[in-house]
Amino acid sequence: MYQNQYSQQQRMSQPPAVLSTKDNAYLTDALSWELLAVKKAHSFASQCSDQQVKHQLEQLCQLHQQHYHTLLNHLSNNQQDYENQTYPHFHN
């Protein structure tokens, strides 16, 4: 376990840049929320007759796509670290 591996090292002032099991669970939840929001905003925008409402919904679609990428990035970074065995460096 990580605990044994790193317990001899320097005391940490903050958690290291490693995803916890809870982080992973929340990230996957949040990704599915964002995906649903993207689809809903896109679908609604295509059905709108009011151009102002349509534009607002299209912007929301873009925003949630950005959020999706921001969140997904945390899963891909962690994967890389894990494969390279480079984490965690527990100094400041």
């Binding site: 290291p16 982080d23 949040a30 009011d50 959020h67």
Partner: protein
């Protein structure tokens, strides 16, 4: 109340439901009023989605482990709040949302009451409480 923004339309002294309270509302923009899902419904549904997302991300950000994840999730939460606000503003602009101003005398009563409660502050009279009257001077203003 927005008296300088005439484009935001009528601060109507309407009466509603027998009350004397006026409403702050724009004339309603056109939308289909049948049984079908209309533009107003779509915007309302999306507002509900954004509100629901802020609840979810509020819990998420509180549970994050490391700082980088915390920063990103807090940023997503903030932007989702802004999205909520944008949708709310558009609904107001479309006249699909009305507000009722509180009577000034009721506000004045509460101001007086809670001004009096300031005497209960532990630091009252010592002058050490520097954040009381400052605008935008929060200790950690991110």
């Amino acid at each position: 109340m927005n008296s300088n923004r005439s484009s935001y339309g009528s601060y109507q002294q309407q009466r509603y439901g027998g009350s004397t309270s006026p409403t702050m509302k724009n004339p309603s923009a056109h939308f289909e009023k049948g049984t079908e899902f209309n533009d107003r419904d779509r915007l309302n549904d999306m507002l509900a989605t954004e509100k629901w997302l802020t609840d979810g991300f509020n819990v998420f950000v509180r549970e994050t482990s490391h700082q980088e994840l915390y920063n990103d999730v807090l940023h997503v939460l903030t932007e989702t709040h802004h999205a909520c606000r944008d949708v709310f503003n558009l609904m107001f602009e479309k006249g699909w949302y009305s507000l009722h101003p509180e009577q000034p005398s009721h506000i004045a009563d509460h101001y007086q009451k809670f001004s009096g409660y300031e005497s209960q502050f532990p630091s009252h009279g010592t002058g050490s409480y520097q954040y009381l009257s400052g605008v935008g001077q929060h200790p950690r203003d991110y």
